[in-house]
Each structure stands twice: as structure tokens, then as C-alpha cells.
Subunit: 190 residues, 2 copies
């Protein structure tokens, strides 16, 4: 199989991907003092990808729950994500595509449903009539606000202290790097 995972001199002692990623000893909701010790688990490409897939699934569940609680029936979690991606700015479909790496026809489909549901407004741009400008309606903003409000509880759970915050930041930046590397690889080959 594959043996060399990385060129670095850090002692590797586990994980040929059949690994045990799920059982990391630390970080339980009560264990606050655990500085992520640099023990010799090396995180690979695929482990990260699998983790991301899992976490993504989990979040979809969370969102679906929150929306059920809010009594939202006419749009699903995917559409809500688009709503959140729009945020409080007015933008074009193209900009939205960049924001979420969506595929064009896909966003078009979601926007249609969101427009039908009255969550967004679409106006053709003055300068360039090909370009549709998108903006949340009152209703759309309300949903976003409700979701963000519900999210506050999670934020408090996740970011309990300065160290948590630091780690969340690092995770975010690292994911951004993954996004770039994987994105470039797909576009420009690698």
C-alpha cells in the first residue's frame, strides 16, 4: 500500500487511513484544558475529506431541525444555505456562484424557489441587463435572522474560551486553504 504520507520528520505511528479518526481522546464538552498536544497522528487528505463529509451531514441535520422548529416548509436546508450566503448584501448570481462554488444551473434552480417563496427579490441590473441582482426580502431577512439567532446557542457551545476561538479560526483558515488547493487542482489540473 501507500507508506509515505508526508515528507516531514514527525513521528508517524498510526493511520494508514483505515485509522480511528473518530476516537480522538480529547475535546469533550467538559475537557477544557487539553492543549491539542502534538502527538503523532498525521492528518491526511482523505481523513480530512471524510471528516468534512461527516460534519457536513451533521450540519444539514441541525439546519433541518431548526427549520422544522421555525415551521419553514416551502424551502429546504439547501435553499436556506443560499439565503445565508446572500447575507445582507445585494449581489449578482455570478457573485453568488463564487461565494459557494455552486454550479450555475443549480443556483438558478434554488433562486427560483426562493423567489417563489418570497424570500428574495431579483431585479435586472441597470448597467447590464443580463445580470440579475439578488437581494433578500423582508421575509428572507427574517428567516436568516431566526437561523442566526438559533445559531447563537451553538456558537456559545463551540467557542467557550479564547483557545476554542483560536482553534476555530485555525480550522477556518485551514479549510480555506483546502478550498484553494482542491479548487485549483480541479481547475488547472495538478
Amino acid at each position: 500500500m501507500i507508506q509515505k504520507l508526508l515528507h516531514e520528520g514527525v513521528e508517524v505511528e498510526t493511520s494508514i487511513d483505515g485509522f480511528a479518526a473518530a476516537d480522538f481522546p480529547e475535546i469533550s464538552a467538559d475537557n477544557k484544558k487539553a492543549k491539542p498536544a502534538n502527538h503523532a497522528v498525521v492528518v491526511t487528505h482523505f481523513e480530512l475529506a471524510r471528516m468534512i463529509e461527516r460534519v457536513n451531514r451533521r450540519f444539514a441535520g441541525v439546519l433541518r431541525n431548526e427549520m422544522t422548529k421555525l415551521g419553514i416548509e416551502d424551502v429546504g436546508p439547501a435553499q436556506a444555505m443560499v439565503l445565508l450566503a446572500i447575507g445582507d448584501v445585494e449581489l449578482s448570481v455570478g457573485e453568488l456562484l463564487d461565494r459557494g462554488h455552486y454550479v450555475g444551473s443549480n443556483i438558478s434552480y434554488y433562486l427560483k424557489q426562493l423567489a417563489d417563496g418570497g424570500y428574495i427579490d431579483r431585479v435586472a441590473s441597470q448597467r447590464d441587463k443580463r445580470s440579475a441582482r439578488i437581494r433578500l426580502t423582508e421575509k428572507g431577512e427574517q428567516l436568516c435572522a431566526d437561523l442566526r439567532n438559533a445559531g447563537g446557542t451553538y456558537n456559545r457551545l463551540l467557542a467557550r474560551d479564547a483557545e476554542d476561538l483560536r482553534n476555530l479560526e485555525i480550522a477556518f483558515q485551514t479549510l480555506h486553504r483546502l478550498e484553494l488547493v482542491w479548487g485549483n487542482a480541479t481547475r488547472y489540473g495538478l
Copy 2:
């Protein structure tokens, strides 16, 4: 109170998109425009979720590419992820479900395709004939090996030095925490 948390080393080209995300520990009753001007860049629940969604999409693209290169036509990226989740151990469907937080009927569907494609073997367990034991066939192992091999290039790109490695670790563990928090919230209602 909370100040610039990002120091030394974590260089990232900022300006991801218009992230401001100031609504953090204050969730007063209702604030449309009354956001507390928080000058620290704080990563919230939803930003992370959106990032994870994006990165997940990117990775799917990478996987699809690799599989096209390998000439794999009979199964898709999702099935490949299942294959990778199985790894080199023999396990039951239930264990596999836990590994990826899949839904049962879903995995059943994938396993059927993987079995049809000759990538896995299923044998009913001796002890418990309800339980199907899953294992990669030669062909399945080959695909995993090929994928992991291709992944090596990404690993080298992602983990250039010790600091990268540290950050990848932190990202991984932080994601794991997200997984737990979001998972528990869904199950036990927060």
C-alpha cells in the same frame, strides 16, 4: 475583551468574502441593525458550515477527477468515499454507518452498487446472521490504493512544513468537535 486572536504564522490571504459576522455572544432579543461593533474576526457557526459545504463540494470535484483519470465508470465519488471509509478492515454495516453518519438505507444502496461492481464482498456473520460483514475485494483495495496514491500529491501540497501539519491537526480536531456538538444537538435536541 476579545482581541486580535490571530497572531504569528497563520498567513492567509484575507478577503474571503464579505465576512464580518459580528453577532456573537450577544443575542439580545432582536437586533436588526444593532450589531455590536466587534473588531475581532470571529468565526461563527454558519461561516464554518458554509465553508465546510464549499470545501466538501470542492473535494467531490477532486475525487470525480481522479476517478475519471482512473477510468472508473461504474461507481461514483460517493461510493468511493464509502470504500475509503471501509478501509482495510472487515466490518458490519452498522459499524460503517457510525463511521460516516450515513443513513442506513443509503449505505445499503451504495453497498449494493459496490457489490455489483465487485468492489466489496458481503458475508453474513457466523455469530449473528442478521449482520452482514463487509470487506474490500482485490478490486476494491486497488481502487483505494490508487486514490490514496493520487492523494499523496495533495498531502504534500497541504502539509508543507511542521506548522501546516499542526494546523491540519487542529482543523481536524476542531471539526471532530463540531461533529459531536452538531450530532448531539440533533439527537438530544440541544
